[in-house]
């Protein structure tokens, strides 16, 4: 009995020793910056003036940022953008996965082609679309003009700017959702489809009662990853609109960049970053719960 206990303790000690390096690295790389961000968020730290001149100002940064109309608008834009982008990315990603899996030939080529947008850096995508949607020399407006259709000032008009960026983001990230769901689909046993067919289920019912239930955990994971990523949307907005016109495309990260990073008010920026982290945690926890269940 004592020997078994000793063995257990030794094994426990060995396990602790093995995971200690990982825990230390994680603590240094993840917790340390997070804790410092949290500490700075309670100060008036300005980078140029130095950390030694930073004063503790309790919740002033949080009060100020939450009272700021631009921040509230940026928060609303971010949430709206995230909900719409993730919804459409999931929908199109799923449809694309079902479509490509149903192909009898050319699956490999299609897989590769579909993935291409996701492989491009966000900056490249933004610059490409800026050229294509340029009001002056952009191919999109030239085609619309040739077809006698109305043309738009895509990124400078408040009626089109938000949706233009949304479409670009969806275009780029649908492949990610497709890839995850397609891989997951390949592991669904064929006999489930055969059983459904025997029961008289058509194409739509097969996917509704077999494919989607099997993809549940993958869908939840995918949605969570996309929510986290979309919440941090920055490059496309910064390059294409700079948050304009009239703040209609400003996001939390864009706000933090303009008001925290550019002005070097790291205390204020840190408070915004903490608020954003909390929001992401709230949103993603919904999906985590779903995934765990």
């Amino acid at each position: 009995m004592a020997s078994t206990q000793r063995k257990k303790t030794a094994a426990h000690g060995f396990a602790l020793k093995m995971i200690t390096p990982t825990v230390v690295i994680l603590a240094v790389l993840t917790l340390y910056p997070l804790i410092f961000t949290l500490i700075y968020s309670f100060t008036n730290y300005n980078y140029l003036q130095g950390a030694d001149r930073a004063k503790f100002i309790a919740l002033d940064n949080y009060v100020k940022i939450l009272k700021n109309n631009y921040f509230r608008r940026a928060m609303w834009n971010t949430i709206r953008f995230t909900v719409l982008a993730v919804f459409f990315e999931m929908l199109f990603g799923l449809l694309l996965a079902i479509f490509i899996k149903s192909l009898r030939w050319g699956q490999k080529i299609m897989r590769t082609l579909v993935l291409l947008p996701y492989l491009l850096p966000a900056v490249t995508v933004a610059l490409s679309f800026r050229m294509m949607l340029s009001q002056n020399y952009g191919i999109v407006n030239q085609v619309l003009t040739a077809m006698h259709l109305p043309v738009y000032n895509w990124f400078m008009d408040k009626h089109t700017a938000f949706n233009s960026i949304l479409l670009i983001d969806i275009w780029q990230n649908v492949p990610f959702v497709f890839l995850l769901l397609y891989a997951s689909m390949l592991s669904i046993p064929k006999d489930q489809y055969e059983a459904a067919m025997v029961d008289g289920a058509g194409w739509i019912r097969q996917h509704f009662y077999v494919t989607i239930p099997n993809l549940g955990p993958s869908l939840a994971l995918c949605a969570m990853l996309r929510v986290i990523d979309t919440f941090r949307l920055f490059e496309k907005v910064n390059i294409l609109t700079g948050g304009g016109p009239a703040g209609t495309t400003s996001t939390i990260t864009q706000f933090l960049y303009n008001n925290g990073i550019k002005s070097l008010k790291f205390g204020y920026g840190s408070a915004g970053a903490i608020i954003m982290t909390i929001l992401v945690l709230i949103f993603s926890s919904i999906y985590v719960k779903k995934a765990v269940s």
């Binding site: 980078y47 140029l48 003036q49 130095g50 631009y70 340029s134 009001q135 002056n136 020399y137 000032n153 990124f155 400078m156 008009d157 408040k158 609109t241 700079g242 948050g243 304009g244 016109p245 009239a246 703040g247 209609t248 960049y257 303009n258 008001n259 990073i261 550019k262 002005s263 070097l264």
Partner: protein, 402 residues
């Protein structure tokens, strides 16, 4: 005693000779510059300097905001990563308050009479020089030659904002964009609008740096700005230049760094009109956006950096930079007959550089433009002007009280 004097003289002479023959061979300088034509115009001189002095020079061309962040972030280090940096005039207050830049006067640098005096004002703090005006960026009026002619004007006849409106109206009636305004970030919008505001006798702050954006002058200028917007469109700078050059638009406010037309180009630029109406009062309406160069206080190669700074600021190098899109702040370059024969617009640039207005020297300028630009953009997109400007005034007052 005589022996001591002779010895001291000999020692001094030996030291002077040593200093004069200091070799920088093998040293490395790192330059952080504003990307685009600003850095491009300096590149040949940098290459030549590196060759002549047997040194290595690394150039980092950056975007506006990135450049500001990089310089500021490096300023906290004891030994800086950069030896020479390009600085926008609007950063001067923030940088001098926080000892980011080396005092060039103490290093032995001084201005000569050839440099346009007005361009050096932003480079000094008191009598001390911290920066040198490298690239004479100043707002000018971009125009399409054909469309202005079609509207019945010669460039030299455009002397009021009423003329601009007339040309814009006629161009708009002909199915083209009469006047383009710059969209995007708050800073873009404010910079684009300031010449209009100046023509109406307004300004964004008072003598105590308190905001003055909810005034009659501001509203009059903004109303005129909205009228011009209705006769054209809003675009980013690349589209503005393309539209002017390809004849899709007649007029826009721009910067020499955006566009280097030649005698044969479709577009060109002239000084911005100095009055709102033909019989109105005249004001200085060109706003400086001069790109200056300085040496970070924590540079580890100040002597070599100063030598490079003096080299790129020399009249010969500045004159040569014109062929690479440079806009010197020197009379000898901007009034050079050969230069004017090929690039006639430099006459306009010279006038604008002599009579420009600096943006307020306040450390909050980046946030100031962000707030004002966003509110102005809201008005341009259909919002109420009185509400927008009142909101901007309130927020800016709070900002300036911090």
């Amino acid at each position: 005693m005589k022996k001591k004097v002779v010895a001291a003289t000999l020692l001094g002479a030996a030291m002077a000779m040593t200093v004069a023959s200091v070799s920088f061979a093998g040293d490395k300088l790192t330059l952080v510059l504003r990307g685009g034509s600003y850095a491009d115009s300096m590149q040949p001189a940098i290459d030549q300097f590196a060759k002549d002095n047997d040194v290595e020079i690394e150039v980092l061309p950056l975007e506006f905001d990135d450049l500001h962040s990089k310089i500021a972030l490096d300023a906290a280090n004891k030994e800086g990563a950069y030896d020479l940096c390009m600085v926008d005039g609007s950063w001067m207050a923030e940088f001098t308050q926080n000892n980011v830049l080396a005092n060039l006067s103490e290093l032995g640098y001084s201005f000569d009479d050839d440099i346009i005096p007005a361009t050096t004002a932003i480079c000094k703090n008191g009598d001390d020089i911290y920066l040198a005006p490298y690239f004479g960026n100043v707002t000018v009026l971009l125009y399409n030659k054909q469309l202005v002619e079609d509207a019945g004007y010669k460039p030299e006849d455009i002397d009021s904002f009423a003329d601009l409106k007339d040309i814009a109206q006629k161009t708009h009636d002909a199915g083209k964009n009469g006047f383009l305004i710059r969209g995007g970030s708050g800073d873009n919008i404010v910079s684009d609008f300031i010449p209009h505001l100046l023509a109406y006798g307004g300004w964004v702050v008072d003598d105590n740096n308190q905001p003055t954006v909810d005034t009659d002058e501001f509203k009059a200028a903004f109303t005129e700005y909205q009228d011009l917007f209705a006769l054209g469109d809003t675009m980013d700078k690349d589209d503005i230049v393309a539209a002017i050059d390809n004849g899709d638009a007649a007029l826009a406010i721009g910067w020499p760094g955006w566009y280097v037309p030649t005698e044969d180009s479709n577009g060109g630029y002239i000084p911005i009109p100095t009055k709102a109406t033909d019989d109105g009062e005249e004001y200085k309406t060109s706003m400086y956006g001069t790109w200056t160069i300085g040496i970070p206080a924590n540079s580890t190669h100040k002597d070599l950096a100063l030598k490079l700074l003096e080299y790129v600021m020399s009249p010969e190098v500045q004159l040569a930079s014109v062929e690479n899109g440079g806009v010197p702040c020197r009379y000898s370059c901007l009034q050079n007959e050969d230069v004017l024969a090929k690039y006639p617009q430099y006459e306009a640039v010279c006038k604008a550089l002599e009579n420009g207005v600096y943006r307020p020297v306040i450390s909050q300028w980046a946030q100031f433009t962000e707030i004002l630009g966003t509110e102005m953009d809201g008005v341009l997109q259909g919002g109420d002007m009185n509400d927008g400007l009142a909101s901007a005034q309130e927020q800016l007052t709070e900002l300036m009280s911090e």
